[in-house]
Symmetry: C4
Subunit: 362 residues, 4 copies
């Protein structure tokens, strides 16, 4: 295995990961919906933004940590939910959880994890220096009792917030997966959070249902059955963002699902200013989609995000070097974020104001 | 022959079709006027538009069907007129008609079809589950009695509307065809709608005349001799669109002839908002040019089109797999349109409003 | 030699010409100043403009001819001055003149022609159907008596206008020529218009001087010594264009010298609207730079040019096929212009209005 | 060694230099921060600007020289500070100084020079025709007495101004250098300006410290301890530019450190108009970053710069041909600047007004 410390940026880690992975799984991770226009837009939109740093501000100790909805993280870089970590590494989400705990940040555990959230939580607690927080990503199921049982599981495991994915009234269409015939998990892998959930024969794993029936009423229902903070992940239209505030939602994950749901939706960073205006400071926004550099983190924070999430890079890290690989991804981004703060004359996210960001003139 | 169900999108079908076709005919289909700037613009303009979906709207049963000028279609995706289907498949327009009837949508029969409209209509009626409508595309001929005979033929065959192509005062200049020496149809193929039309020796096929003399007075004349709805196909200038409304035209096909007439005209999707404003809701607009994805359909409908038309993709389908290939094209687009509606939180075209579409910020 | 009629557009003629030419001379023709940014901009700017044709206007006989400053041309496509035609064909400007006369348009004879203007005029008069007009391109020389002698020569030869190049206070810097060591004309070739001009030993050819001293006073002087119409070629700044009107100049050739003088100046077509506004209809504007298609001609005329000029294409034609090649270039453009008029619903340049042209939306 | 006079532009000199250099050092010079987006932006931003020259202004003798903060230069093209000239040529900064003196312009000696400023000054004085001025580039060190000693050294050597780099609260991150393992200077090379500076064992060379603690108070302190003009190099935010004026700074070097500090900052030429507006004529601005052509010089001056600086090109010249190579770089730019002035109808920088520059229309 490559020595992780030799890998200098997320792009190099991805290259190592791809070289060692089953191409079908690499396609599954890298791919997105249809022509993958949004997949590419997420990254290119960051490149089109320019930073205008401040100078001679006299430094002082940098503070990288943030607190989002009561969960503290040692840096404003969270781990967005991604499915099936065991596809790329035998330890799966356990390795990820240890890496995230060591980095002392927040892991948003995917409902489609290949390790149950309780075991993930135990691994995180047992990790070296482990004290990162867990949030739980949820697809609300039409079967509300099932959904409630899932919420209870996540709550019992110590998850501190629920991230409800709302952009999936149907599964996104990855033509790469269809071409590769990748439709089922390999033997031995399953969505463990849905095993032995409510009645049924022991060991049975339920299917995740993505239903267009899910509506704001379901959000209201969820609000009533849990006291955990609720974030909605996947709203893109400013009208929907305003609805979220009206429905008492606690936060947003501004995400286009990494370009895996509807192709040709805008990149998240280009939507951020409008979404920030729509929430008007009432609730925090975590942005994911295309974050690959410390400068990307600073751009998102300067434009109003409370934190960013990364998805694919964690999987590439996991594939390239297991727990050490995932940790390398997080530490590289931390170093880059710290370095970018310094070069911007900032000591914390509070110094990052919208005037530091410019579009590229045409 | 490739199994049509293995082909995952229109681009794959085109690739299979090209691999099996005489390159001269493939060039004839794919090509356009001069430098083909407009051919490329039609597709790239859709890619530059972004969709902003709505979430949590609670679904409900999707309704894909639309009614345009009294003709019902099971989806807002029509078949635009294209010439010479027998060039790419021995069954020619008969196969196309069966595929369109099976898909239960509208086929705009080309005046330059290699099967007479009456036979096309019979094939459509006899098709499995066949009940799609036929419209007839017409180049008004300077010889008005000839034109009237053609209109009668189309009417007698059961065509429900006339689509008058107005962008062809002269034939477009395909340099591909000139380079390939492709000037005449192969032996045995002819524009069958012009066979035995009015006097002349039996079996004689008249030439289609494209004349710059055709004017609004011809449209007024046509209005008087037929009670079928009249759509004009090919108007691009907003001033002309306003004239069409004043002349009592029933609908428009917003089309640049697939980039085959005047090179460097704008893509149709970029003209759509202005054309929609010019008609001010008085008459429906069908848009064609570059529609290759369900997201393209949704973008056009959200910006005000009543339906879209596809041209080349049907020919590629026909070339790749005859009737089954053409059907695959229509079914893929239907699936994609349905999927896109779902992911946009919409249940029918009525939910598709202009705020769902954005240009790409620069 | 290739059969000229097999060549379908100007790009194909250029390809044939380059294949047969000494690469040093091909570089001399194709090249421009420094990084050739303006050379490329001239062509790409036309591609970025869109045409919005009118339909159903009822045709009528097309009139292609125009009259510019009293000189009639059978089409609004003139031949811009280019130097050294004998470099690419032994008959040099004689062949060009015959081709232009046959096409019945205007040839702007270059001061740096390798045939004297009197002989060019004789060849034009003797050409098949020859009755094209000649204009004479002039670099005003600091030696005014020499300049006056040149003007007299051109006048005596029957030139109907003077085109004074004003963008050359110094020779442009072609790094291609420097790299190729192309600094002198091959033996036997000379600027024949400067042979035996005023005193000096018989046969002596003077050097063309490009001097920064030339100023508006020289234009005023020229105005006094000739009654021929004077056009200035090479003004780009709107302030200078207004000065030209004030100084009583009769016309402009809006030209950036084919990108051969100052690199990174704008394409001429993008400057045209501003220059048209600056002259406010007082004097006609001939535009050259990047005209390669009939659609380019229509775009320039619609935006206000009285005619266009072509430079390099004539040389490529000459190199590819001598007089026949140059004629093919002119006839192809005429056909394309005629065809574009038809497809735009126009019968003459008078129908070409600015609303027919659009920029490409971003 | 290549004959310098065969090299026709800066790009050819760079190619020759790279061919002969250790690739690790070539990467060190060419590279920049992270993804090098700003490195590329510096050059491409100039290409996106267009020049609109004036004509017929009647020339007159051109004056290329400028005076900036009391230092005269024979042309408005200075040598920006770059480190470690001995990496690319054994004579290092001595050769550079001789070339700059011969060109009679200003060399901004880098604090990280591999020759002490006193020796550089001696070499400049002894050069053929040498009378170029020296300025000294300074990283203010947290150890103020050390800084003061450095300032004294530069002053004693005859430097006429101090250029304080303020964009380096930390070292920029060149991933090329990390990949190449280039972390230390080869044996025998050192930052000679920091040798034997204040106490410590004889021969000891101090490390340059880049500290985020440096603030406006340090600028005020420097203002008090020296009477030399002070320029700040690296301010990008207009707010910081206004602060500089308020703090009594004498000039600015508008620079993004060649894209070597914070990646994705804007190109300097695109920031220039705003920075010019912010200083409102109170202090002169020298711009560096991407200047490779005489047209670039004219664009910067027309938009308000007092002069430009070049960095990498001097190093490529030095690598390609030592003193003669650096001189060739300076003479090529001088020739191109002179030529561009002529072609713009200008005789000195005073004629270069903002209306001569245009953005590229989209």
């Amino acid at each position: 295995m490559a020595d992780m410390s030799d890998l200098l940026n997320l792009s190099e880690i991805e290259a190592v990961a791809r070289a060692g992975l089953n191409p079908v799984y690499a396609d599954y991770i890298a791919g997105g919906a249809r022509d993958e226009i949004t997949v590419r837009a997420n990254e290119s939109a960051f490149e089109r933004l320019r930073l205008l740093p401040r100078m001679l501000r006299g430094g002082g100790k940098r503070e990288l940590d943030v607190t989002v909805l009561g969960s503290r993280a040692s840096m404003p870089i969270l781990v967005s939910p991604t499915a099936f970590h065991k596809l790329v590494h035998p330890e799966g989400e356990l390795a990820t959880a240890r890496a995230v705990a060591a980095a002392d940040t927040i892991m948003i555990v995917a409902m489609a994890a290949t390790v149950a959230v309780g075991e993930i939580a135990a691994a995180a607690r047992a990790a070296t220096g482990g004290h990162g927080a867990l949030w739980f990503q949820l697809y609300i199921q039409p079967d509300l009792e099932l959904t409630e049982a899932l919420v209870r599981r996540a709550t019992d495991a110590g998850c501190e917030a629920l991230v409800v994915t709302v952009d999936s009234p149907a599964l996104g269409a990855s033509e790469r997966n269809r071409r590769n015939g990748f439709t089922d998990l390999p033997a031995g892998l399953a969505c463990e959070n849905l095993r032995d959930l409510r009645d049924g024969e022991p060991g049975h794993v339920r299917q995740i249902v993505m239903s267009p029936e899910i509506s704001w009423e379901h959000i209201d229902w969820l609000r009533r059955i849990t006291s955990l903070p609720i974030l909605l992940k996947g709203l893109l239209h400013p009208e929907d963002v305003r609805s979220a505030v009206r429905h008492g939602v606690d936060g947003l994950v501004l995400s286009n699902h990494g370009g895996r749901q509807l192709d040709t939706v805008p990149s998240t960073i280009e939507l951020l200013p409008e979404v920030v205006a729509a929430v008007a400071g009432r609730i925090p926004i975590v942005l994911d989609g295309g974050v690959r550099r410390g400068t990307d983190v600073v751009k998102a924070l300067a434009l109003g995000a409370a934190a960013v999430g990364i998805g694919r890079p964690v999987l590439w890290g996991l594939a390239a070097g297991g727990e050490a690989g995932a940790r390398r991804v997080l530490e590289l981004l931390r170093e880059e974020y710290d370095h970018t703060l310094t070069l911007c004359g900032a000591t914390s996210a509070r110094d990052l104001t919208p005037d530091l960001v410019r579009g590229v003139p045409q």
